[in-house]
């Protein structure tokens, strides 16, 4: 992450404060998704394992609604060429990734806090495991969402393509994260979850390397 990428991140952050392209979509989706779950449950008591799964369902679909904006907003405003004229592909990807990382962390902290306030069954027994899962999971989610956003930005049917392309790429990550979250809810020790944590870390490294290699081809016509 160099100084140029950080400048691009600052430009995106400033632009987001002015336009609220992604933040409005994310806030609305989080509120609607959690409300729908609450209404559909009614007075029923849901199991602890179900709350862990539902948490990542909300996170997955919230990411779908907000994270694609990183590149789609540039394409819609016609500023993609401007970026190509001022920065190298790796700078653009690093800047956009940093922006999505911050957005994912803020979004998921809000979701996790709302979630624990709304659902009595969502009680974390192994907080360290949850924290590491949350950290690695968010990094993976941000990397995958950023490269998928870059791929779909030039397509005509962006809205349909994003979830379609995201599903197979994010499914292994989400399955591992659900498993690890359940472990942290039922108090499984950190050592017993090391294999799954290593898998998530590997996913992050592979996706990051593949994204940097692929982005050069995605970015140029």
């Amino acid at each position: 992450m160099n100084i140029k990428a950080f400048a691009l991140f600052k430009k995106d952050f400033h632009s987001e404060l002015r336009t609220r392209y992604a933040v409005n979509a994310l806030i609305m989706f989080i509120i609607v998704a959690i409300s729908v779950i609450l209404f559909s449950i009614g007075n029923e008591k849901i199991s602890q394992s179900l709350t862990g799964g539902l948490l990542w369902v909300v996170i997955f679909f919230s990411a779908m609604s907000g994270l694609s904006r990183a590149f789609v907003s540039e394409e819609e405003r016609g500023t993609t060429m401007t970026l190509q004229l001022i920065a190298s592909p790796s700078t653009v990807f690093s800047g956009k990734l940093l922006f999505n990382l911050i957005l994912v962390f803020v979004m998921n902290i809000v979701i996790a806090l709302l979630y624990s306030a709304m659902f009595d069954a969502f009680v974390i027994k192994n907080f360290l495991l949850f924290l590491v899962t949350f950290l690695l999971g968010n990094i993976g989610l941000a990397i995958s969402s950023t490269i998928i956003a870059a791929i779909i930005a030039k397509a005509g049917s962006k809205g349909t393509l994003y979830p379609v392309l995201s599903f197979p790429i994010l499914l292994p990550l989400i399955l591992l994260l659900v498993h690890l979250t359940l472990n942290s809810l039922d108090g499984t020790s950190f050592d017993q979850s090391l294999f799954e944590l290593a898998m998530v870390a590997c996913y992050d490294v592979i996706m990051l390397s593949a994204s940097y290699m692929l982005f050069d081809f995605v970015w140029k016509d």
């Binding site: 100084i3 140029k4 400048a7 691009l8 600052k10 430009k11 400033h14 632009s15 002015r18 336009t19 405003r77 016609g78 500023t79 060429m81 401007t82 190509q84 004229l85 001022i86 920065a87 190298s88 592909p89 790796s90 700078t91 800047g95 140029k220 016509d221």
Partner: protein
């Protein structure tokens, strides 16, 4: 005199089955103003985009050299300035904010004196803090010139540079281009007679439509 050169070797571009141009060769190794002309759809913008590295040719190569060293594609943006009607700046920022972010992302110093001079030259100094979305299309076009010139590029690529400009704006652009042509290579793609008049030589794209044109035509760069 410029120590920059741009050379095209057997450039060919095909969209689907449609040949846009074939076997374009040129070598601009001296500062000056060069033109690309041709009817609508002849590939003027495509050629400009290929020279700038924004688009790849179907075959052939573009070689950029600075001080006799080849420039790698990842660094090319540091050497070129680009103006076109389809280039967009950030509407939600002011002209000053746009230019400041461009400097930071390029990692070149934001020379306030130079920016103020360019804003003044292009008659935008008193509107520099207004959001770009409040600008007219002519003002946006003038701002694109500042965007193209602010980092002192060695190669200026201008696609329809005077579109949306009034007579005063055009005169301003021509006088600045003539001044810049002493140190930079300027390539203009246009059909405007007044734009092409300032060019010292011209590539006429209608001559490059022959798919069997494997030998460079005599006098392919004419004026």
């Amino acid at each position: 005199m410029s120590n920059y050169s741009v050379e095209a070797i057997a450039l060919n571009k095909v969209f689907g089955r449609r040949l846009i141009f074939n076997n374009i060769n040129f070598n601009f190794n001296n500062s000056g103003i060069f033109g690309i002309s041709g009817p609508n759809g002849s590939g003027k913008s495509t050629l400009i985009k290929i020279i700038s590295g924004l688009t790849s040719p179907s075959s052939g190569r573009i070689i950029h050299n600075y001080n006799e060293k080849s420039i790698i594609p990842e660094k090319l943006h540091n050497y070129i300035g680009f103006v076109s009607p389809y280039l967009m700046l950030y509407d939600e920022f002011s002209a000053w904010e746009n230019l400041n972010y461009f400097s930071k992302i390029r990692n070149v110093p934001f020379d306030k004196d130079k920016i103020n001079y360019l804003l003044d030259s292009f008659l935008l100094l008193n509107r520099k803090d207004d959001l770009v979305k409040t600008y007219s299309s002519g003002m946006k076009q003038r701002l694109k010139f500042i965007f193209a010139l602010m980092h002192s590029p060695h190669l200026l690529l201008l696609d329809e540079p005077t579109s949306n400009l009034d007579a005063e704006g055009k005169e301003k652009v021509y006088s600045i281009l003539k001044k810049e042509s002493g140190t930079s290579i300027i390539i203009i793609a246009s059909n405007e007679e007044s734009d092409l008049e300032i060019c010292s030589s011209l590539i006429q794209l209608e001559k490059y439509k022959n798919p069997y044109n494997s030998v460079p035509a005599a006098g392919e760069i004419t004026k």
